[in-house]
């Protein structure tokens, strides 16, 4: 019986496969295939995120707190993407999304795809913000966009938006 089920399953796969070959060139099918390129979000609570804020290697870490619903955050994302690209060797950019869980599938993942974001993305879902915000920085009121830049022996927090030159200047300070 098990064998029979297995055969059926294989036949089902073959049938499906045939079907998709037949449909090749059909725009709507191509679209579906595109959307099946899965983006695996890594969703963490603050305990999970904390190690990313305290690495002790020789890199400079740029941790940006953002969300798709935050207009000034979305506006400055290309700046962080460019830093990721231009300083690929020495600087690691991590984009920490504070999107709402119910919008991961409907907003966040489509946004990441559409904008083809290259930096590492972590999704933070931790309700108890009153306890974790000061652990990121005592200076943080909780407004986003906000950015933490750190290296082994230096650490700075910014509750503000960046343009490219401003962020570059700050990152340079950590590289020198």
């Amino acid at each position: 019986m098990k064998f029979k089920l297995g055969t059926l399953f294989v036949m089902f796969l073959l049938f499906n496969c045939n079907n998709s070959i037949k449909s090749e060139g059909d725009l709507s099918i191509v679209k579906i295939d595109e959307s099946q390129k899965k983006i695996e979000l890594s969703t963490l609570d603050f305990d999970g995120l904390e190690p990313y804020l305290n690495k002790q290697d020789d890199q400079v870490y740029v941790i940006n707190f953002w969300a798709t619903w935050c207009a000034p955050c979305v506006k400055e994302l290309p700046v962080f993407e460019k830093i990721h690209k231009d300083y690929n060797k020495n600087v690691k950019v991590i984009l920490v999304s504070l999107d709402f869980p119910k919008q991961y599938e409907t907003k966040l993942i489509p946004f990441i795809k559409e904008n083809n974001l290259q930096s590492e993305i972590i999704v933070l879902n931790d309700m108890d913000s009153n306890s974790w915000i000061p652990k990121v920085s005592e200076d943080w009121s909780g407004a986003i966009p906000s950015t933490l830049i750190y290296s082994k022996n230096k650490r700075k927090f910014y509750e503000k938006s960046f343009n490219y030159n401003e962020l570059k200047t700050e990152v340079q300070q950590f590289l020198n």
Partner: protein
């Protein structure tokens, strides 16, 4: 000529000093909050001094467009319902620049207040002078004030509660705890809390 130079240096120093000073402003718990005179969605001007009977205020910096502010709308309405009659009315202030955030203009504010049935004034910080004075950085951002002989004293700064996503799963109702403590004449356990919010648009 020399005098002119010295004068210029002095002006530069004073300007610098003024900027550095204002940079670090914003109220701490215990400070006396300044009054304001801002237009509400019904066209009337509102000041704290208008409220002769009030024992204090729940001042909420909020807006139409921030998802966090929207998530808290019903809870802000509930706060006013519960505490206005006990002497602590809600005063909502929209701090964003309407050029930067057109969805927060007066027409949109009126529409939102009407649709949600706001029972409290919803004021526009038109010159954007009030929120920096308070030190608000985001929406929503709450200041609980208590009327004292010296003026309206800041008693609590921060979040409404500890769960923006699920009102039913809230563990700590920070603002309610603060106002309840004031009403009972007890010390406030948590005078300052933090939450994620949308930066105020300038």
């Amino acid at each position: 000529m020399k005098l002119l130079k010295i004068g210029m240096v002095l002006i530069a120093i004073l300007t610098f000093a003024a900027f550095t000073y204002s940079d670090n402003s914003g109220y701490k718990v215990g400070d006396i909050a300044a009054d304001f005179n801002l237009e509400s969605v019904d066209g009337k001007m509102v000041s704290l001094t208008n409220y002769l009977e009030a024992k204090g205020f729940i001042v909420v910096f909020t807006c139409n467009t921030c998802p966090y502010a929207i998530a808290y709308e019903d809870r802000i309405i509930a706060l006013n319902k519960k505490y206005a009659s006990q002497g602590y009315p809600v005063i909502a202030i929209m701090p964003n620049s309407t050029t930067a955030s057109p969805g927060d203009n007066m027409e949109a504010m009126k529409a939102r207040a009407k649709a949600k049935g706001f029972t409290f004034p919803y004021l526009m910080d038109k010159g954007q002078n009030v929120y920096p004075e308070y030190g608000a950085s985001k929406t929503p951002h709450v200041y609980v004030l208590q009327k004292t002989k010296k003026g309206n004293q800041v008693k609590y700064i921060g979040a409404i509660d500890d769960n923006y996503q699920h009102p039913e799963s809230v563990n700590q109702k920070y603002v309610e705890n603060a106002v309840d403590a004031l009403l009972e004449g007890k010390p406030i356990k948590e005078e300052h809390t933090r939450a994620i919010g949308c930066t105020i648009k300038v």
